[in-house]
Symmetry: C2
Subunit: 327 residues, 2 copies
């Protein structure tokens, strides 16, 4: 029997969950993926299933049991403040877990997926958009992350929403023509018509009906269309997204450091990134951009810390290299 | 028994419904108010109750029966295209109605509440925002009215949404300070605290939670706060609303004419109106602004037309004067 401490870092997201099984030196022993893991968006039962699914898969690959795990760190949005962890703790205990469960912010896991430095920044622009400043290994400043209705400026939702509005305003005559319109219509299975009602094309009424029939957050699904076009409207939306992300980062900037970048909007090179850097100007000096795919490695770094270890650059490197054998 | 044709014009809205009983010369015989009358937002049963309530009240004041009414015109948003009028027709018939029921757009009723001219414009900015161009007494151009998620730029929702975003960005540090923030906090029963979590004030988290707990459209309720403040952020929001409304109007402008104005945003003098006129510049020449309170008179004008009459300026004047005895 192996008595070295084994740890699990969980990156629980709104659409999927990743679990990384590691020893306390950052050697990845197993890795698993599960379903939706955020209890706020998915509900506690479904979220627990998503997390457990990822955990079971990681343990199975390693041939280990949950009873051997000393620390589980679950990184997810919005769970740190709630304090009520029974939805997950009870399920883990039922499967033999006797160790310590703790929660961390998803953005802190993103940060530690790309940096082991005590000071730096993480900026995520996926469906939502949020920035944190990390000091002494803890979050001490936050910008945006205010959700689709109140913030998330420069996020995938923000881009998709801007695309939808540009398309309906084009069809409506209150906005400029854009090639995005045909893409948005095609995305919704609609074609242009010559039918007009009270001066409006029929496809506008149909498109508006379809867009209101889905939850607003699904507008984020339109975001890729802006990256496939290069007319003035599409380019303008992407440039504005970059400017918003730069302004959000600027609100927490307090000196040079690593800037870990999560989410697909800013991770890729192109118009958003260019506008982002142009807007930052001199403030971009001393920021080292480090795109990361997800927060699994960072959650494992936080599990090492929870177990009393020091998640330094060597452990980050080891986790980053050793996880690659599993995914 | 009186054999002159009597008509009912109904202005059915999302929060209340007005019914105007008139003869074919525009003499108001009765007037009643009922509850929510739009079947799309209230559901058909509740909407029918709202409409019937207004109709019964108008008939009761005049001492008349529904069986005596030859034409009912119901003006409401979104009902012209649907064609399915059983939700209201069946209820009217059950109370003795044997005449002709027809539907018109709410904005056309707004227009005819302020003008009898064949050509002109109606611009409504209440919770939503929409403009129509009227030609030969029919709508032949429409701008915006695309709803809170996709349009309604310059509406009460748009203003309230801008206020909410300004407040959370102030608290978040990603936007400028504004006196609106204390008003928004007070509006939600919150006070400022010195508690910070990850660099954020506790009241931000509470405010965001409360704002997401209600349907987005309720943000329109914050709009009055901008009219009570005069700092740069509040003034900027109102000026931008005026610019949006001017741009929406510009999309359908095709020469001088009456501009009937509905909804509280542009009806009052002040920063929105000033920015609106400044943005229009020379294009405002030849536009006669005519604020109206609701669409009841216009719905009655449309009922006169439905009955084969000509709703001219004399009938508009008679309706406008004679209704005042009832409300």
């Amino acid at each position: 029997m192996n008595h070295e401490p084994i740890l699990i870092g969980i990156d629980a997201g709104g659409t999927s969950t990743r679990a990384l099984l590691t020893d306390d030196r950052g050697q990845c022993l197993g890795y698993g993926v599960g379903g939706r893991g955020n209890p706020i968006s998915a509900g506690p039962d479904l979220a627990a299933e998503g997390v457990l699914g990822a955990v079971r898969a990681a343990l199975a690959i390693a041939g280990r049991e949950l009873s051997e795990v000393s620390h589980v760190v679950a990184a997810m949005a919005g769970m740190r403040a709630s304090g009520d962890d029974a939805w997950l703790r009870d399920r883990l205990v039922a499967e033999g877990f006797t160790g310590v469960l703790s929660f961390e912010a998803d953005l802190l896991a993103t940060y530690f997926s790309g940096s082991a430095a005590d000071f730096g920044y993480a900026l995520v622009s996926g469906t939502g958009a949020c920035v944190i400043r990390v000091r002494a290994g803890r979050i001490d400043g936050t910008g945006d992350g205010l959700g689709w209705l109140l913030g998330d400026r420069g996020s995938g939702f923000w881009i998709g929403h801007s695309i939808a509005r540009a398309a309906v305003q084009d069809l409506d005559g209150t906005g400029p023509r854009t090639a995005l319109t045909d893409r948005v219509l095609a995305h919704h299975g609609l074609a242009r018509t010559v039918q007009r009602r009270e001066g409006r094309p029929d496809e506008l009424e149909r498109l508006v009906g379809l867009l209101y029939a889905s939850p607003p957050i699904e507008l984020a699904g339109l975001a890729p269309l802006a990256f496939e076009e290069s007319d003035a409207v599409a380019s303008g939306i992407l440039a504005e997204a970059g400017i918003h992300l730069a302004d959000t980062l600027s609100a927490v900037l307090a000196g040079p450091g690593p800037l870990v970048v999560g989410g697909s909007v800013l991770s890729r090179t192109g118009p958003v990134r260019e506008a982002f850097l142009a807007r930052l100007g001199e403030r971009a000096e001393g920021l080292e951009l480090r795109p990361v795919g997800d927060g699994a490695v960072g959650a494992a770094m936080l599990a090492v810390r929870a177990a009393g270890g020091t998640p330094d650059a060597a452990i980050l490197d080891r986790l980053t290299v050793s996880i690659s054998a599993f995914r």
